[in-house]
């Protein structure tokens, strides 16, 4: 399975949750599959998906799923100790680990070589870390949502992208639409 197939398989699970989605192909693919006011799409700043997700989870009650990538987490590796030491039980970090920088032409990342992001997360002090195969992602995500505890899921999948258009929605509209949804759900 490639990322787009993983996203397709989790759409029924995440469609009602607050989602922060990683820059580039992940956001474009999710936007094409299932655009929702509860989705926040990153248009810039590689690496900060998990940080935005944690900040959001710590500041309101609803569950937050950050859909991140291996390359992005490697870019902002300092995020894992921060997550580990600031536990938000309404936060799930889903790392779609295809071992490559997908949006830039599938250059290999170290996560596809000797580096295990699950082992790094555990070493950073994250308590509930799950590594799974792509086809088990939806099931693991359901389990994590039901468990009411902060969980890091590392989904190992194949490298590859599908052809989808870039997101042309105005960033202020993306943010405003998302914030209104957050407010509504916390009311």
């Amino acid at each position: 399975m490639i990322r787009n197939e993983v996203l397709k398989s989790i759409v029924p699970v995440i469609t009602d949750e607050l989602v922060i989605c990683n820059i580039g192909s992940p956001s474009q693919e999710l936007f094409s599959l299932d655009d929702q006011p509860s989705n926040f799409y990153m248009l810039g700043t590689m690496g900060l998906c998990s940080s935005i997700g944690l900040g959001l989870a710590l500041s309101q009650r609803e569950k937050v799923i950050a859909i991140d990538g291996d390359g992005s987490v490697l870019t902002n590796l300092g995020t894992l100790p921060t997550i580990a030491n600031n536990v938000a039980d309404n936060f799930i970090l889903l790392i779609i680990d295809n071992g490559s920088y997908g949006s830039t032409g599938d250059q290999p990342t170290y996560a596809g070589m000797k580096t295990s992001l699950a082992a790094v997360a555990e070493a950073c002090g994250c308590d509930h870390v799950v590594e799974c195969q792509a086809e088990d992602t939806a099931e693991e995500l359901k389990k994590a949502l039901a468990a009411d505890q902060m969980t890091i899921i590392v989904c190992k999948c194949q490298s590859g992208n599908v052809k989808v258009p870039v997101i042309t929605m105005n960033p202020v509209v993306i943010g405003d639409r998302f914030m209104k949804e957050v407010q509504k759900r916390n009311a």
Partner: protein, 167 residues
């Protein structure tokens, strides 16, 4: 003036509704960071790098929080892309309380290099910038915090060695 500057700054932040603060430490800011950690109206989330901290602040703002980042001016060199493509692009208000190292009174030569770039970068990025040099400059802080929310921009509050020495 007999007030404690660090206390005054944190009191002003709380009065402005700031409830989420991320910090990357600096010696000059140690007193403020200590008070932020102790204040029970503020959630303090130390970050490992300032762009990470700005991501946390963006998330907090979208969750209804009122964030602030506390950092050194060296961080301006680290965060240009994040300020531009996240904070400014999505119009998130973000007050940045910055220790302005490398001004007169600085003991570490290397700090002068980044000090020389600090204001030009902020100006190039159209970031409203305020320079606290005298102790009484702190009186502007409540208005600056309100201004930041009003215009939904990142704003820079540069606090130099003279300001902290007077404290």
């Amino acid at each position: 003036m007999t007030f404690n500057i660090s206390e005054r700054i944190v009191d002003d932040m709380v009065a402005a509704g700031i409830n989420f603060v991320t910090t990357v430490p600096c010696k000059q800011l140690a007193g403020v960071i200590d008070l932020v950690e102790k204040n029970d109206q503020i959630r303090h989330v130390p970050s490992n790098k300032e762009d990470e901290g700005m991501g946390l602040c963006a998330g907090s703002y979208m969750g209804g929080g009122k964030p602030c980042i506390i950092m050194q001016n060296t961080a301006i060199g680290v965060t240009v892309n994040t300020l531009s493509a996240l904070i400014q692009f999505y119009q998130f208000p973000l007050p940045m309380l910055i220790s302005y190292r490398g001004e007169v009174g600085e003991p570490v030569a290397c700090q002068v290099e980044m000090a020389l770039h600090t204001k030009p970068i902020l100006q190039q990025m159209n970031i409203p910038t305020f320079h606290f040099h005298k102790k009484s400059d702190v009186e502007e802080l409540p208005a600056i915090l309100a201004y930041t929310q009003m215009c939904k921009k990142p704003t820079a509050i540069l606090t130099d060695a003279s300001f902290w020495r007077a404290a």
